[in-house]
């Protein structure tokens, strides 16, 4: 029997009996049963009503609030409101501009996050440092590894253990306001040239070593992931040259782009799709010379205070019906074939969200070594302090 992914759909009597029998036989866990039948959520809600379901044999207490660390403009606020309506758990959203910032917070201790969104190349380090838990997949009945595209999801699994499950994939390209900038920008080489000429004072780079240094490397014809000192030194020259001409160094560029304070920026797929949807003059292009392709994951910090709520939200987000709303709102491409089927045609045919395979070929996934390489960390800090 296939697993149902429609958690909110009413379950038929047949299926309920069937699942109940499986539960009794022990071929599924209690959690799977609760998840599939939707009883998990119901009991979770009821369990907080004193006197109704006091037995701890039912779902764990989810508390009343939890916290998620994620990226700017990355979720549909309605998702968290719906989650609160379903479970009574209010979700606090913390926004970060780089994986390094998230890592720094976790290393210093006491983040209070119950769920966070790291990028593919960081997960092995988090696991090695013991900062994240191996996920208990029995608490995530709505996650289905068999429907995930392994190209984007393999980095969540280390030595056969799942530490993180995929959120979505995407690219790092260039958003250009074509009303303001007439010269075509098609590569990172163009980006750094236009930034000191036509877009003087109006271009933005991320406050994020991976993409800012990576794209400067790409503009010179080097690998996005290079940690060779001589190549990094060249990239530093590019960055120091462009710095006086920049509008800002900030990973949250949407407000500035929308206000036309900034005219050109390094840009992630989802932001590109959102900006282009509301302001068609803002175009999103991928560097011909390269750049980043990435996938983001959900993981649970070892230090999380409310893990039950973290799992509950994660399971909620893994439900295709909920995930599809997120994708329509945030404009990032999905890794999950179940979600892909549900997406409307105008999303799947959007070339910003789902570019042609050829445009993706020059792109590189971030490499784990860049996260902890002291040379890149120090270069970024020097660049900002220069």
């Amino acid at each position: 029997m296939t697993k149902s992914h429609r958690e909110n759909a009413p379950i038929t009597a047949d299926r309920l009996t069937d699942e109940l029998m499986r539960l009794k036989r022990g071929s599924v866990t209690r959690r799977h049963f609760l998840g599939v039948t939707g009883l998990g959520l119901a009991t979770a809600v009821l369990a907080r009503q004193p006197g109704l379901f006091n037995s701890t044999a039912f779902a764990e207490d989810l508390g009343t609030q939890m916290s998620i660390a994620t990226w700017p403009n990355y979720h549909d606020p309605a998702t968290f409101e719906a989650f609160k309506a379903a479970t009574g758990v209010a979700v606090e959203v913390n926004v970060f501009g780089s994986n390094e910032e998230m890592l720094a917070k976790l290393q210093a201790g006491g983040t209070g996050w119950d769920l966070f969104v790291p990028t593919n190349y960081t997960i092995s380090t988090y696991a090695k440092l013991g900062l994240i838990d191996e996920l208990d997949l029995s608490k995530l009945p709505n996650y289905d590894p068999s429907t995930e595209n392994p190209r984007f999801t393999n980095e969540g699994i280390i030595d056969g253990k799942t530490y993180a499950v995929p959120k979505n994939w995407g690219t790092t390209g260039i958003a250009v306001n074509s009303d303001k900038i007439k010269k075509p920008v098609t590569s990172w080489k163009d980006f750094f040239e236009v930034a000191i000429t036509e877009a003087d004072g109006r271009a933005m780079v991320h406050d994020y070593q991976l993409t800012t240094i990576g794209n400067a490397l790409v503009s010179l014809g080097y690998s996005f992931n290079s940690i060779k000192p001589e190549e990094l030194a060249k990239a530093e020259e590019v960055l120091l040259k462009v710095k006086p001409h920049l509008y800002a160094i900030n990973s949250d560029y949407q407000p500035a782009m929308r206000a036309t304070d900034a005219w050109m920026t390094m840009c992630w797929t989802n932001d590109g799709a959102q900006l282009n949807r509301d302001m068609p003059e803002i175009q999103f292009v991928l560097g011909k010379d390269g750049g980043e392709i990435w996938s983001d994951f959900y993981a649970i910090p070892k230090s999380a205070a409310n893990k039950p709520a973290g799992y509950a939200l994660l399971n909620y987000l893994m439900t295709p019906e909920n995930a599809v709303k997120e994708h329509v709102a945030n404009g990032a491409p999905t890794t999950d074939s179940r979600v892909l089927k549900l997406l409307p045609a105008e999303v799947t045919s959007n070339k910003i969200v789902y570019p042609d395979e050829a445009a993706l070929t020059p792109l590189e996934f971030g490499a784990a070594v860049t996260l902890t390489d002291p040379g890149r960390a120090e270069l970024m800090a020097r660049f900002k302090a220069a």
């Binding site: 009343t64 609030q65 916290s67 700017p72 403009n73 209010a90 606090e92 959203v93 913390n94 926004v95 501009g97 210093a108 201790g109 006491g110 983040t111 209070g112 996050w113 949250d252 949407q254 407000p255 206000a259 205070a305």
Partner: protein
């Protein structure tokens, strides 16, 4: 001249007026006015995280200012009785607590606490009889400690200045009349230094309530109001923040006014 003064006040108040204006915005944005509404006040007061951030800030500001007022006053009184060398040492330490930039205080406290915890937590775990040993971490305690440091120095300085200007003869007269030191303190000294203690408390409270940078480092998972506002600026500000800021502004205005009225009453009573 008049034009200059007016423009200074305009400069001071234009941004505040803007903050208040947008708290009544009907739209979602804190930068484009689309119509009048008071909805954001309801939303702000219904937002668990915003309200708990406000609560945290109030608790931390009150606790650190109260501790500072008590310990700072005690220190100011005690320093009077110390030898010159010890007094100079205290003076230097309090001065350091005031002039060392907040960002350094935050970092130093973080570094020290993380070092201490990494040593204490395993020790606690080894010695703890049960299976869930307590974990020391950043939070209320660390923020109150770091804020209390600055605040205590502030209170000590203010109260010391007041003590220095106090007439000694009345204290001596009191003890000549066989009042116990405690009675002398209660009846003679305390009433005279109380206004400066209160002033120190209020300043300390304000400092703690508005501090971002120290809390940013040592707050751990606790969110104070400034930390919440900073996070919202990154997330995209909604008029919720404006609403809370407006409420805080009017609450503090009320506080200033009350203080003024109380002081005026006192002054007229004492016949000044």
């Amino acid at each position: 001249m008049r034009a200059f003064i007016s423009s200074v006040y305009l400069f001071l108040y234009a941004p505040i007026a803007l903050v208040v204006l947008f708290s009544f915005n009907a739209g979602r944005s804190a930068s484009e006015f689309t119509g009048f509404s008071t909805d954001w006040y309801g939303k702000a007061l219904g937002n668990t995280f915003l309200v708990s951030a406000l609560q945290n800030s109030l608790i931390i500001a009150f606790t650190s200012a109260a501790l500072a007022a008590v310990f700072g006053t005690m220190a100011a009184l005690g320093m009077e009785r110390l030898g010159a060398r010890m007094r100079a040492l205290f003076d230097a330490l309090f001065a350091a607590a005031i002039v060392v930039p907040g960002v350094v205080i935050g970092i130093a406290t973080l570094v020290a606490l993380v070092a201490v915890f990494s040593f204490l937590n395993p020790a606690l775990a080894a010695l703890w009889p049960g299976d869930r040993p307590p974990q020391l971490g950043l939070g209320y305690g660390s923020i109150i400690a770091a804020h209390g440091l600055f605040s205590m120095a502030l209170v000590t300085m203010i109260v010391k200045a007041r003590i220095a200007s106090l007439g000694r003869d009345i204290v001596e007269a009191s003890s000549d009349l066989y009042a116990t030191p405690l009675t002398t303190f209660r009846l003679i000294v305390l009433p005279q230094i109380l206004p400066s203690i209160l002033a120190g408390f209020l300043l300390a409270f304000t400092f703690s309530f508005d501090d971002f940078i120290i809390a940013f480092f040592v707050a751990g998972s606790k969110t104070t109001l400034p930390i919440y506002v900073f996070a919202s600026i990154r997330r995209g500000v909604t008029p919720e923040i404006n609403a809370i800021a407006t409420l805080v502004l009017f609450a503090s205005l009320l506080l200033i006014l009350t203080a003024r009225i109380l002081m005026r009453e006192k002054r007229s009573k004492s016949g000044e």
